[in-house]
Symmetry: C2
Subunit: 458 residues, 2 copies
């Protein structure tokens, strides 16, 4: 509950653009994952940078935390109030502000989703490449340093955010980055805010890099005799330097779930879903080379989806894999894991994870963006069975620890929120305290998304 004075001041600023209704608070206390927290005290819907700056000034004056909210698709509790605070829902700041085709840049507001952006871009010959599966908001994707299926070719949000407008904890508004493709003038503030999960400020505008829609696109599904061969094929492909646009792994259990959920008829074996982008001559040669590599690992019957509908159908099925896996155990919820290891350690990481899951007694299909060493196990549990939930959480923790042991990271793309806070020191050691020092420098009162990412919070 907000103190009366604070509430009155907030109403004076956001009358008609805020809510303290039980329904609104409950809606903004939900998460797609098993990570849960308390409810916020209020939800506000700013319409401008000035609104957000006023909100930050209010937050400072009344010592009330602010928590950014995009599309609510994050998986580690990033957008949930730990025990109090105001959720800043960017749904009314979702405009495309400026498309600059000649510079391959677009300026957008943070509440815009990636699918909405790509619809706007359709006729320009350009595309926004980062594709985490969920139709996340672009502000949220930047805050979480999201990536997904195409990162192996076009990079993550780190590589595709050119500049930001950010409202700081004290209400100051800064701009980072320039319209130039590169710069050596000063600390990389854009890079610092990307991945900072709302703990250093609230993103109110983004300038994003665009890429040309590829002239030729070819997608294929390759079936492998075993998980080891599929993973080894990925490793060989990446080490050969093939310019993969996408290279996704699905284990047999994932394939079964996708076939059932999305009406596919993929062979029941581990699969790689690959895509090539380029000019027709380049893609033809890439395909020839991939076919050769894949054959060496026992791949059979590569199925090429040249027609746009077939490709769309395959990728829609891939994106629905999470829901497909959930649907494979009615009533289940999932502990969604997310680790990323050096390519050289990928086979060992997947293999040990599979054995660990197999020994645990719960189901956990594995899939992932294996071209950059990133994979997920979707650990299915009955949420009302504390023993299953505990087993899954222990498995998830061991996956993260295994990733660290193999030289990887506790999160490839989902971020930390508070779901993975307990693993940060293991990954970063003393560098985690440096993150804390940076946090305190920009947010000395600890009002920006407290309880997430950095030490000593709240």
């Amino acid at each position: 509950m907000l103190p009366d004075l604070a509430l009155a001041a907030l109403r004076a600023l956001f009358e008609g653009r805020m809510s303290t209704s039980a329904a609104a608070l409950a809606e903004h206390a939900q998460s797609e994952s098993l990570v849960t927290a308390g409810k916020p005290d209020a939800v506000v819907f700013p319409q401008s940078t000035a609104d957000v700056a006023a909100l930050a000034a209010w937050s400072t004056a009344h010592r009330i935390p602010l928590i950014g909210w995009g599309a609510g698709t994050s998986l580690e509790g990033h957008a949930l109030a730990i025990d109090k605070g105001v959720v800043v829902d960017f749904r009314d700041m979702a405009a495309v502000l400026d498309i600059r085709p000649e510079d391959r840049l677009v300026r957008v507001q943070p509440g815009l989703t990636r699918e909405a952006l790509n619809r706007e871009l359709r006729t320009t010959g350009l595309m926004f490449s980062v594709d985490p599966g969920a139709n996340a908001s672009l502000g949220g994707m930047a805050a979480t340093r999201a990536s997904g299926t195409t990162a192996v070719r076009y990079g993550t949000m780190r590589d595709n955010v050119r500049g930001l407008e950010v409202v700081l904890a004290d209400g100051r508004v800064i701009r980072t980055g320039t319209g130039a493709p590169k710069s050596s003038a000063g600390y990389d503030l854009t890079g610092l805010f990307v991945g900072s999960e709302g703990t250093l400020g609230l993103i109110t505008e983004l300038t994003l890099r665009l890429h040309g829609q590829p002239e030729a696109v070819m997608t294929a599904v390759a079936a492998f005799p075993g998980v080891g061969q599929a993973v080894d094929c990925v490793i060989a492909t990446m080490q050969m330097g093939l310019p993969m646009a996408r290279i996704e792994f699905l284990d047999t259990e994932t394939v079964v779930a996708c076939n059932a959920f999305s009406g596919l008829a993929l062979p029941l074996s581990p699969q790689l879903l690959v895509e090539f982008h380029g000019h027709p001559e380049g893609v033809a040669e890439d395909i020839r080379r991939f076919r050769e590599i894949a054959a060496g690992f026992g791949a059979e019957g590569l199925q090429w989806a040249e027609a746009s509908e077939d490709r769309t159908r395959l990728w829609a099925a891939r994106h629905a894999a999470y829901r497909a896996i959930l649907a494979s155990r009615p009533g289940a919820k999932a502990v969604v894991t997310d680790v990323c290891v050096p390519i050289s350690a990928l086979a060992q990481a997947v293999d040990e994870t599979r054995s660990d899951i197999a020994a645990s007694g719960i189901r956990g299909p594995i899939l992932g963006h294996v071209g950059d060493g990133n994979f997920h196990a979707i650990l299915l549990v009955d949420p009302s069975d504390p023993s299953e939930v505990a087993t899954a959480k222990a498995l998830a923790r061991r996956m993260a620890e295994r990733s660290l042991r193999l030289g990887g990271t506790i999160s490839g793309e989902h971020g930390v929120g508070f779901g993975k806070l307990g693993l940060m020191e293991a990954e970063h050691g003393e560098a985690w305290s440096v993150m804390g020092a940076l946090k305190r420098a920009l947010d000395p009162l600890g009002l920006m998304n407290p309880g997430k990412l950095v030490p000593g919070q709240p």
Copy 2:
């Protein structure tokens, strides 16, 4: 002069690995550019991370600044002591520590130069791509966020540093980054230290990304009827999305200087020097497309250098362009400028810069890595003529201001040091004070390369 107590303590730590000789101090007060400063009080040659950590503790105890030194090739005074301090010369920390071909990573010490690294890599099929021309140290390149001819394809140091070991101002040693190709776990500290110019800590180890040596390489020189056509050809090429490995512009004056200095016989007109990397089939198609675009802008007689010796000769001449231009006016020194603009503004930026130089009465050949909007004018002056020096500095300032007006940056790749400190507020506004806050958080005593990059120093 160091206080006696401080000097005695330093000698106890670095006896035999330090110098206070006039020659050593003078050598470390030199710069390749017209940016000059005072002399350091001592030069030390650490051999290990522990040495650097001990030095930081000494610096904190005695309140003496530390200034990192790699190969001394920086152009904005980054490695110069403003009025006092100890230069940390990394010449004895120049080892390749670990090559991991399967992950395309290499771990190196900061004093290693990029050419030495590429010699070590020659038989591995891999290469380190960042190529600023000078044979800079890799630690210095990271600190300055260097780039160069190949950034248009392979990225700058921002994109090619995977992780760092850094000694902080208080002597703590941290590691940033992991062996995984990406991560969403916490603030991007690697990105923060890259480009921080030694103001946040001293880099003692780098993990760098490597790329496969391309199977096919083709280099060509294209002559254009005028600067406008050459620049417009670059813009069209980039907007078409051709995967250029290099695309360099040389104006006629630069061509004259290179012909004389490097024994070339290039036609006396504005030139583009382009290179394609890939598999033979892809490169052949890239070339066909580039030829078509270039012809549309009046390019004549594309000369292809397919043989490795011819390519090497061309790129050696390009890298010697700075020396060639200096040699074209005996006794001259140069004010080296470095701006980077959005591709859409490149033609206007180059055009206005040329007119400005032409009206100034001094010579200033223009060249640059135009594929990412980055270009340089080498403003030639008689260093003993204050009026010429003042004219050149005013031209340089107007170039930077023009770049800002056109949406660009005051530095594409050379960095800020103290040479461009006076332009930082114009580029960043309030964000510059945020850089200052981050600096104070990690270096509250202001001992790490004071007087550079951030406000309020020393």
